[in-house]
Amino acid sequence: MEAIRRLGEAALESLRTLGSAGTFLFQALIALPNPRKNFPLLIQQLYSVGVLSLAIIVVAGLFIGMVLGLQGYSILVTYGSEQALGTMVALTLVRELGPVVTALLFAGRAGSALTAEIGLMKATEQLSSMEMIGVDPLRRIVAPRFWAGFISMPLLALIFSAVGILGGHLVGVDWLGIYDGSYWMNMQGSVEFWDDVGNGVIKSVVFGAVVSWIAVFQGYDCEPTSEGISRATTRTVVYGSLAVLGLDFVLTAVMFGGF
């Protein structure tokens, strides 16, 4: 009986947190943007969230593209279909790995940084003092960071896919001897821009919103102590990753599952 009661309590607590997370986001975003003041903030955040993630995204994309090339070749060659490598690499990246792996890496690198930054500002009372000066920290601190994540994610995913396809080309054409022409021609024949690339972009937009939301909320809501901040950072990475994987399944089923 006790276990059931605890379960109910935990569920209600989760709902309550979800509700406050929703209100939090709503309050942070409904503000009319003040272009003169907020645009530079957004640029600054785009830099620290987007530009600084480029390194890991490009390197990861390159390696994953190359691995796809290797593994794909070894599987396809047993069916004599190695010329389809371009198709395989491109579709895998554009539909799935591009958005998903980028989102996971983003949650780990940029998401945790956002959480830690906001959490630290909370713990050192900077958010409170900002409020006392009459500036809403939700608009000044949280909103630019959210939008930066939301905008950066699709861009990073596109770059990831592009670099990965080039990596696959490097392995398949330059090292394993597939014809350059067939790599690209087969790919072009089977990758639909709106269906595949477009859906991939939609996925990464959704992931961007969810991961950024989780990251800023965890930072804002954390216990203002050092353990609190470290717990919040961990939660961002874990919840963010799980959310991405779960949503990926739902989105894939909706987008590509209609047979």
Partner: protein, 280 residues
């Protein structure tokens, strides 16, 4: 120097019967405090009695369960956004940790309230910032980042930011906590100077007896969510309340017990012996 016209109430801040619960605990159970204009009012009490939380009500960051918080005659919890924004420009709060924005330089920190509440030109802002820094003795340090400041300089820079808009009210949250004697002396002098030169009304939340009693004009002592004593420093020193005496003189035991509330050690030993004896 302000004429007591009927438009200006004598008390800049009045708190009437504030009640506030956190969970089941009553943090404030009917607290009333008056902050007289132009004077230094201190709020004291043992740790954890909620002194700092009181400042949050004045600033409108928390809403009471019941009671009124009047600033210049207007009830803060009732205020709409715009009015609250304007009211906050009239008060400055010096946080215990300074709470400077770590990603901005000292100059940018002090300029921050100016940029938010006024449309002054950059030149004018520069003048004002340097003036404030001069007042706290930090002119020349404006390009340093908060991480490069010592603890005392940190507090002073935060104070400069708190007075940037020439507020009518300054609140100090534990300004003397953990500072070395020299820094404490500097802060005491600054608080006094600000009162005398600018006629600022100050509220100090602290549990440092000597410093606070040396500059406060009126003191409230809080404990268990209630005001258990108030008066001028002399009146309090002469108070007959055992609690206030324990507090002011720092006696380890008195109305605030030294020991955690459990049966006395002797009783517990006897009870344990009884239990052990019963088993044999």
């Amino acid at each position: 120097m302000t004429d007591s016209s009927s438009a200006q109430p004598a008390n800049l801040v009045e708190i009437h019967n504030l009640v506030f619960h956190r969970g089941k605990r009553a943090i404030f159970d009917g607290v009333s405090v008056n902050v007289a204009r132009g004077k230094v009012t201190a709020i004291m009490g043992p740790s954890g009695c909620g002194k700092t939380t009181l400042l949050r009500f004045i600033g409108g960051q928390l809403r009471p369960d019941s009671g009124r918080v009047l600033v210049e005659g207007r009830n803060v919890p009732d205020m709409k956004r715009d009015e609250l924004f304007a009211t906050r420009a009239r008060m400055g709060l010096l946080f215990q940790s300074g709470a400077l924005f770590t990603d901005l330089s000292v100059y940018e920190n002090v300029a921050f309230p100016l940029r938010e509440h006024t449309r002054l030109s950059e030149d004018l802002i520069r003048e004002l910032v340097l003036m404030k820094l001069e007042a706290v003795g930090l002119r020349g340090a404006e390009n340093l980042m908060p991480a490069e400041l010592s603890g005392g300089m940190n507090r002073r820079a935060a104070l400069a930011r708190a007075i940037a808009l020439d507020p009518a009210l300054i609140m100090y949250d534990e300004p003397f906590a953990g500072q070395d004697p020299i820094v404490m002396g500097v802060l005491v002098t600054l608080i006094r100077t600000l009162r005398e030169a600018l006629g600022l009304t100050s509220v100090i939340v602290s549990h440092d007896i000597d410093e606070t009693l040396s500059i406060a004009d009126y003191i409230y002592v809080l404990a268990d969510g209630k005001v258990i004593g108030e008066g001028t420093p002399d009146a309090l020193r002469a108070s007959e309340s055992p609690f206030i005496q324990q507090f002011l003189n720092g006696h380890p035991d008195g109305p605030v017990r030294f020991r955690y509330p459990v049966p006395s050690f002797a009783e517990e030993l006897a009870a344990a012996k009884l239990k052990a004896g019963g088993r044999n």
